[in-house]
């Protein structure tokens, strides 16, 4: 378990390393700002996977992820003239990812919960595992995603960015336009709600087993 907890910190350091690239000195970004289609394609290819993963972490295995990736890149490329180069391109892109993910979570919550399709869950679960392990993992994943869906979008994003991505509170605050103290509160509340929801889920499971 401790090993699991330690992993996001490695993640965070890798993110910080990416963020430390010289900002506006990237010639690809400069070319893209000039309207070069080749440069845009290259930028897309460089960041598409990362954007997809980040969106998945923030919103879960949602069938709309590809559309959201498209939305992120369209927004980023359209906003390139406004990009001042004070932060790295990836940081700027990450901010757009967070904003798009937040908007999507809000809309999804307003529409109501929609169960994930089994095919997506099956895709995520390791295909090499035995059928029994696969079923268990699927069940576990479903339960975890249900728990996460109970959180409000702001809390969910703060929790994922802190616990999974391992970002510091000021970094998260910069991404979501909030103070570090506010972000800390959101993370605490999210953890508390998740724990309570997990307890309820456990008790319900026990009751069903007794029947």
């Amino acid at each position: 378990m401790d090993a699991l907890i330690a992993t996001p910190l490695i993640w965070a350091s890798s993110l910080r390393a990416v963020r430390q690239e010289p900002p506006a000195s990237d010639p690809l970004v400069q070319a893209a700002r000039g309207g070069d289609n080749q440069a845009l394609e290259q930028l897309f290819r460089r960041h598409a996977d990362e954007v997809f993963r980040r969106i998945t972490r923030l919103i879960g295995p949602d069938p709309d992820r590809e559309d959201l990736v498209q939305e992120v890149f369209v927004a980023a490329f359209r906003g390139l003239p406004k990009f001042r180069g004070e932060a790295s391109f990836s940081t700027w892109l990450y901010r757009i990812v967070v904003r798009v993910a937040y908007g999507h979570l809000k809309r999804r919550r307003a529409r109501g919960q929609q169960p994930l399709s089994e095919t997506i869950v099956e895709k995520i679960v390791d295909s090499a595992a035995s059928p029994e392990d696969k079923a268990l993992k699927q069940q576990e994943l479903n339960q975890v995603l249900e728990l996460l869906d109970q959180l409000k979008p702001k809390k969910r994003i703060a929790f994922v960015l802190r616990v999974v991505d391992g970002l510091s509170l000021p970094e998260i605050g910069e991404l979501v336009n909030a103070t570090p103290a506010t972000v800390g509160q959101r993370v605490r509340h999210a953890q508390h709600e998740l724990q309570q929801a997990a307890q309820r889920q456990k008790q319900q499971r026990l009751r069903e087993e007794r029947r």
Binding site: M1, D2, L4, I5, T7, P8, N37, L40, E41, F44, R45, A48, D49, E50, F52, R53, R54, T56, R57, G60, P61, E66, V69, Q70, F73, V74, F77, R78, K123, I124, V125, D126, E140, L141, V144, L145, L147, L148, V160, R162, V163, V164, G166, L169, G184, V187, R188, Q191, L194, Q195, A198, Q199
Partner: protein
Amino acid sequence: MSCNKATDALLGLQGDNQALIAHRRECPHCSQATEVIGTLRSAIESSAADGLDQVARLRIQNRVLAELTQPPPRQGARWALWIPSALALVLLAAWALWPRAKVIGDSSPPQQAKRIVPPPLQQTAPLALYLIAGRGALDRVSEIGATHQVLRAEAGQTLRARLGATDVLLRGPGRLSTAASADGQQLTLHSGRLVVDSPTRHDQPLAIVAGQYRIVIVGTRFAVARPDAISLTVVVERGEVAIFQSAEGIARLRAGQTWSNGNADGALNALLERTAWSPPASARHWIARVSDTTGSLYARGHYLGEAPLVAQLPLGLASIDLRRSGHARRIEQRPLGAVRRRALPAVTNLRQPVKTRRKRSPAARTQPRAPDVAVDNPGKTGERQPTRPTAEARYRAAEQAIARGELPVAQRIFEQLLDDPTAQALWPTARLDLARVYLRRGDPRRAAQLLAAVPQGSSLSGAAHFLRCQAKLRNQKHAEAFRCLETFQTRYPGSGQLEQALFLSAQLAEKLGGCRQAKPLIERYLRRFAHGRYRQRLVQRCNAQ
């Protein structure tokens, strides 16, 4: 070690150390939290482990580049959606926050209540007072402006008041209060005997209110006696006097006629003869100037006739400075200007037991001496049995207790009177007084029960009706109280409590429907009582809003 700190450390919000890690392992709550977070993290990471496949990436790339070639959506389209929403929101907020007057049965749009301008104070006849008989009798006189006054004459004293051309004489013990109204001057005789001499019919009529009765003076000399709360005698020496009960005139007396609702007071005729009097020439200069020395109790602009505080004051001049709440802030009390108060004689009529030794007869000496034992029945031993005070005396004692502010004492006496069949004649008034005591002691329920026993159509039904309204008011039944007061004003337009009823109606209307609703009632009050004691309170309150 708290679980909150451990959880914070787990979430990386605060420092982590060995102690916290150890706590997380040992504490079941924290270990569960650790487990939940670990599960979530692994699940989220595993779900996001894979990136886009080649085909999907190419598809998205094409879509992005294709979309970039198209013009971006116009900002106007977004505004087109926002403007109606914002407008709807503004309208909703305006509807919610629009000040709405609480209107009773009126759907007309709320209007700003117009400023109420009371009619100017009418010039009322100045009151001059003389103490002409009794302890501290003197010829000095004072002239007091048109304010509410309470005059008290002690036993054996006679107060003479002059209201313009009208001469009023109060024989103690008695209490009289004066008030100016739109109709003119009004005197209320609470108790005692009164002689009124009105040689000419002046422009402003003078009315004497005695309980349910109202005596309007039309240029006459007559006497009124009110020995207790129910009995009333009127003797006319000159001119004419009309007696009204509520709105109905019940008697019109000419010179030499006497009217009484019970046993006529024979002393009134003698009083009329004895008190033929004119002010001494030495006192004329006192009438001309407004002085502040002799014989009156008043509070500027406030009626204090029923206040126990006033009843406790001795005869003299007291100026009472009132707070807005109606409570006395400062009382300046002065005895009668030139009265040299003699010390009351020491109480000497208490009999001391006298020990007398009777000689025993020789025959008695042979008898054994009776043992000294306490006797339960003193009557049989020949000792004097204390005489029981009469019902009237007890009633007076209760009234005095009320005047002193000793309400529990008064309540006990009235309750005893109502249980005493020999005091049956006093029951109707005792019921009313007891109901008043209950109301003042904050027990409107018992007051209402008591008032239900007062029969309709009796001479006390008006007072009982008003007390019922007050009981409803105290019970917070505002709408019922309002209706009750309206009925009272219709049924008893000449009642002594009309002013208070009008005031309470206006106040209730303001409470229930705001100043706009109260305005007609305030104006009604001002038309009827232009110099009334509630004038300032009603006018200021609504004009302030």
